[in-house]
């Protein structure tokens, strides 16, 4: 991509087709343009609503993570047999 006009055009092509857009080091002017482009993708009604499967999937992932974290936080229990041995 040769310049800002081309880079932003490629970014717009990607977002209007709901693809992960091209990455590039953006100038402040380009940043402003690509943020505006991102915002305008919401102009289509319903475009910004999450997929139900995604919502459920993340919920399952968090459930596993939270259970792991809570298990790690739980204070260690003293096993009576261990105490007797020591």
């Amino acid at each position: 991509m040769s310049g800002p006009v081309e880079r932003i055009a490629a970014f717009v092509d990607d977002v209007i087709h709901n693809r992960r857009p091209c990455r590039f080091i953006a100038s402040p002017a380009e940043m402003a343009a690509l943020r505006a482009a991102a915002e305008l993708t919401c102009a289509r009604p319903g475009a910004d609503l999450p997929d139900r499967q995604f919502v459920d999937h993340v919920s399952s992932c968090i459930s596993v993570t939270v259970r792991t974290v809570l298990a790690e936080r739980r204070p260690p229990t003293l096993d009576v047999r261990d105490r007797m041995v020591s």
Binding site: L34, L40, A43, P50
Partner: protein, 196 residues
Amino acid sequence: MEHVRLGVLTALPGGVAVGAAAANWSPEVHVLQGAVYTDWETVYQNNVVKVYRLMFARVGNRPDAEDLTSEVFVKSLPNLTLPSPVIQVNAYINVAIRSVLADHWRRHYGAPQADVEVENLVQPSDVTPSDEGSGRAGRILALLPDRSRAILELRFLRGCSIKEAAREMGVSPGNAKILQYRALRLAAEVGQRMLS
């Protein structure tokens, strides 16, 4: 399929909250001042749509919006101490949103930290999903000069390719790209003015 178990919201003195604990049921949850979250499931269910929509409005595409949304929750929820006041949890989520978005812009577009602005869209009283995203985009388009609005409507509302948009506007594809770039910069200025 609804299978997420919703938790219970309780209330502190001076506040009122409605909660639910039932599978296969999506109650309307009204979070009022003084309410507290007691479990992460309710935090997630009450905020996931708002966070996703905010992310989508910032990045403009589903794959990135999904990645960033899950990052916000997977990173922040396990570290929440519950029960916590709703207002405090919302503030915590806002901090996570800012951090995740700032990292996204910095990693993929080289944006310095100071350039990342995220207004607090996860407000304590903002519970039901609104049409804010499409409404704001529509208002921005409405405030643009005719030709700028036309090129952006062709691209974003009608999904025209740059060649199709150029044909509609009677210009070359090269000129359509330039017109689009200028229109987006104008839209950015209009959007900034609307925030201030």
